[in-house]
Amino acid sequence: MSTAGAMQAAEATAQMPVIAPHVPAWRIFARNGTAAFGAIVLAVLIPLAVLGPFLAPFDPSRVNAGPPMAGPHWPHVFGTDDLGRDVFSRVADGLRVSLLVGFGAASFSTGLGVVVGGVAGFFGRFIDDLLMRITEIFQVIPRFFLGVLLVAFFGASIFNIIFAIAILSWPEVARVVRSEFLSLRARQFVDAARVAGASRRTLIFSEILPNAMGPVVVNGTLLVGQAMLLEAGLSYLGLGDPSLVSLGVMLQEAQQIMRTAWWTTAFPGLMIFLAVLSLNLVGDGLNDVLNPRSRER
């Protein structure tokens, strides 16, 4: 064989299309047992919250649906409170409000944080300095007390609560996104896109942002849980939306009868616990899925 032929042959053998299989996202997720557990819990809780009004055996606000302060028994599986309202129906309803606040505040703050962090990280220099100083101002204020203040000042409507929680949570997102942008901006594939002639908009939206979304989504799921806890805390202090029942409102109402009717606090508390825990577990699982490292090597 001539040298040229040998060279070509050498090139050809290396060119056999040996391509590693694409591992589906759900399989990476399922590798993490606790994340799968969290997903299953959420798969029960979210339909319960969304379909609450249809699934609940009683109207959550109906007084004397059963005997007052009765322990768990059929048909009141979670018992009844001091006004004879069905705790299970109220929990389902409260879960809906709590999750609404959680997801609402998390998406609001994530959106704001991505914009601020992305602009700061991509443009750098003066813009970065300015935006990061503003972010720091928000970060040094004790979150819970600013929340109390905002809600007390603007009124305890559910929108105001979502807004207050979001205003308190975005700096975290902004910092995460900024650092992602800073490191991604210097990656070779971004330079490669620049060399290919990509515009600034393409660089941001098709090269950098999709690669920054992993930590953002993970942080987002954790934020949902945090927002639910914050809302429960505000409600417990009597700053919840008075026209809606959330899990926090239920805890606040049951304060007085906690010693005699444990079920009135135990079940709403358990729901918060389960929801926040499973959101955190799912966040961890998503981290595995969205981190390209878990696929590579």
Binding site: A10, A14, I19, P21, H22, Q188, F189, A196
Partner: protein, 352 residues
């Protein structure tokens, strides 16, 4: 390869860099009054002629990557001129810079970092094709497959809808090369394009680059510290030290008759496969580290580590001394090169 291609002098250069300077300010502390400056590239001139492969060699931190990035317009030049096919590229607006980018493309160092992990190979290749309107939108897929076939990823169709993490390092680098040649450039800047690859894959990629060069009449500016690569692929070599060119010339001359002590030391550091040859070779070991590019030494930048340095070297920057056949060394004693290489260095009496 003993001489520069005869046509090189006649044809207008594809790339012409004249007295290029790229300085980066170093952010000092709050209380530091003066701003310090890194002289990454400090007065570099070179030319790449059509069909020529020019290597830029030097140790880490000598400014070769910054030079490459400046040629691509990825960093701003502080001073000097870069011309591609005679057209200046410094200070262009976005639209003209885009047009420039069609003529000069780059293959990056790390194939694991230079493909967007969230994009399929098709969409990575589609980007330059659609930005520069190389083919109509309906034919992008076919063109991308053709490009992959060209770089030895065949059948290209099988690779299009895959993600980079499914590829090996060699396959990725082939995909990167496909992206670089997608816009039919005239010059490809390869920044350490094979140094991250296995030695066996390296040979394949070099063979591929050689084939593409012949097929498309490309010119390469090859940034590397791998002298083996230089010898097998490059027509001309430019040796950089601390932001400046110390020597340039035809590959064979640089390897066999270096005119600058730094080049000689660099060649001596290249491992030889034959132990007898290696033992017979005179070793020139440099002492000390690369001086800081923030405050480069006065005079000849190499004098702090030079085995043949004299008093003049610390005072005066050496002029370019022509050694024939297009070889030029920036050393006061370049003309004496054979003598100090034989071991009778002129420096002995003046060394401390």
């Amino acid at each position: 390869m003993a001489e520069a291609p005869a046509f090189a002098a006649a044809a207008a250069p594809v790339l012409e860099v004249r007295d290029l300077k790229v300085h980066f300010p170093v952010a000092g502390g709050w209380f530091q009054r003066e701003t310090r400056v890194v002289h990454a590239v400090d007065g570099v001139s070179l030319a790449v002629h059509p069909g020529e492969v020019v290597a830029v060699v030097g140790e880490s931190g000598c400014g070769k990557t910054t030079l490459a990035r400046a040629v691509l317009g990825l960093v701003d030049a502080t001073a000097g001129e870069i011309r591609v096919k005679g057209a200046p590229i410094i200070g262009l607006d976005a639209a003209s810079l885009r047009a420039h980018r069609r003529r000069v493309q780059m293959v990056f160092q790390d194939p694991f970092d230079s493909l967007n992990p969230r994009k399929t190979i098709l969409s990575t290749l589609a980007q330059p094709l659609s930005i520069h309107g190389i083919v109509p939108a309906g034919e992008i897929r076919r063109e991308a497959a053709r490009l992959l076939d060209l770089v030895g990823l065949s059948p290209g169709e099988a690779f299009l809808d895959r993600y980079p993490h499914q590829f090996s390092g060699g396959q990725r680098q082939r995909a990167c090369i496909a992206r670089a040649i997608a816009v039919r450039p005239e010059l490809v800047v390869a920044d350490e394009a094979v140094s991250a690859l296995d030695i066996s894959i390296r040979a394949q990629i070099l063979t591929l680059l050689q084939r593409l060069k012949a097929e498309f009449g490309l010119s390469y500016l090859f940034i590397t510290h791998d002298l083996g690569v230089v010898r097998s692929l490059c027509d001309r070599v430019v040796v950089m030290y601390l932001g400046r060119i110390v020597e340039e010339g035809p590959t064979e001359r640089i390897f066999t008759a270096p005119g600058h002590p730094y080049t000689a030391a660099l060649m001596a550091s290249c491992p030889l496969p034959d132990p007898r040859l290696a033992r017979a070779r005179k070793t020139v070991t440099l002492s000390g580290d690369l001086p800081s590019p923030v405050s480069p030494p006065a005079g000849c930048r190499f004098h702090t580590r030079c085995p043949v340095a004299q008093a003049i070297c610390g005072r005066e920057a050496p002029p370019a001394i022509e050694l024939g056949q297009g070889q030029r060394a920036h050393c006061h004693f370049a003309a004496d090169a054979p003598r100090w290489q034989a071991g009778a260095g002129p420096a002995q009496e003046s060394k401390p």
